[in-house]
């Protein structure tokens, strides 16, 4: 009896902690995307990904454990990387003054007004926010599913405790998101867009590396290092682009 509870307890705690790490990673991106592009589409993307994952789990059950994780990591990671680097490149060019922010705002306003005229109103659909939130939730969610299966498969009847640990982690992270989303709204939009680009690129690079069986120094700890590296790189490219465009314009 004691041993059973000990196994159950360790399964819950192990699943909770491992899932917490993955959920926090997803939360970081979803919060940033929601702050920049709006909460409706970001949350729709997140909940859609969770729903898709639940359907897959219900349909396939433990057969999921037989799908090679690297294939999922490589496929979704490549999409995340293409998406993230595209976003970061645009943020760099915007910060360098090569893509005028004011024009984008005007275009956004024009689109919003047009949609109001079409009586779409608050139901505006942001596919970029949806895709970013969906991708990251799918990736981290798949990790959580594999964690639950791996921990739950260790002993008979441990799948439920492992699932409870993962669900508890999800609720903790949702609470964290509710607390953090308001302070985030005070950060300037352009800065947030820059941060989102950095985050998506860093996560995309990490997952592609995992999918390609590349070695990351410090395993998951290389994610903060990748974030710092992309941020430093982007901040270094901005003045370079600015000076390059000025040099070209003065010589023509």
């Amino acid at each position: 009896m004691g041993t059973g509870w000990a196994h159950m307890g360790t399964s819950i705690v192990a699943s909770f902690l491992a899932s917490l790490v993955e959920c926090v990673e997803a939360l970081t991106v979803v919060l940033a995307v929601g702050s920049v592009r709006g909460w409706r589409s970001a949350l729709t993307g997140t909940t859609t990904a969770i729903a898709v994952l639940l359907i897959i789990i219900a349909a396939l059950g433990t057969a999921l454990a037989h799908i090679p994780l690297p294939i999922v990591q490589l496929a979704v990671g490549t999409l995340l990387l293409l998406f993230g680097l595209r976003w970061l490149r645009k943020a760099i060019l915007r910060s360098a003054g090569l893509i005028p922010l004011r024009d984008e705002q005007a275009a956004f306003q024009k689109n919003t007004e047009a949609m109001h005229r079409l009586a779409i109103g608050s139901a505006t659909w942001d596919k970029i926010a949806f895709a970013a939130a969906f991708n990251i939730t799918m990736l981290e969610g798949t990790e959580v599913v594999f964690i639950v299966i791996a921990i739950g498969a260790g002993h008979t009847g441990m799948l439920l405790p492992a699932s409870l640990g993962a669900v508890a982690a999800l609720f903790v992270v949702i609470a964290l998101g509710l607390i953090l989303h308001r302070p985030l709204a005070r950060i300037p939009e352009n800065t947030l867009k820059f941060i989102v680009g950095v985050l998506l690129s860093a996560f995309g690079t990490f997952w592609v590396g995992e999918g390609l069986h590349l070695a990351w120094p410090g395993a998951d700890w290389s994610i903060p290092a990748l974030i710092a590296a992309y941020l430093s790189l982007a901040l270094a490219i901005v003045p370079l682009c600015r000076s390059r465009s000025q040099t070209v314009s003065s010589s023509t």
Partner: protein, 70 residues
């Protein structure tokens, strides 16, 4: 079929706005996939090499855009 084309174009546009930039990323990933098991690269630095290539592609693409913008 036009609606399907539109949807596919929209999805494509989410991931690609500069074709050569996206292509360079995909080529670099293919090179990494092909080269890492074949070349005798120390395993501790393969992730760093992946990042370095992507960083170079990003810097080159942004610099190229800034040259052509003016």
């Amino acid at each position: 079929m036009k609606w399907l084309k539109n949807i596919l174009r929209e999805i494509f546009g989410l991931f690609v706005d500069d074709g050569s930039f996206a292509l360079a990323i995909l080529i670099w990933l293919a090179v990494m996939r092909w080269a890492t098991p074949r070349l005798n690269i120390p395993s501790g630095i393969t992730g760093v090499i992946l990042f370095a290539g992507l960083a170079l592609i990003l810097a080159e693409s942004a610099a190229r855009y800034s040259r052509h913008k003016q």
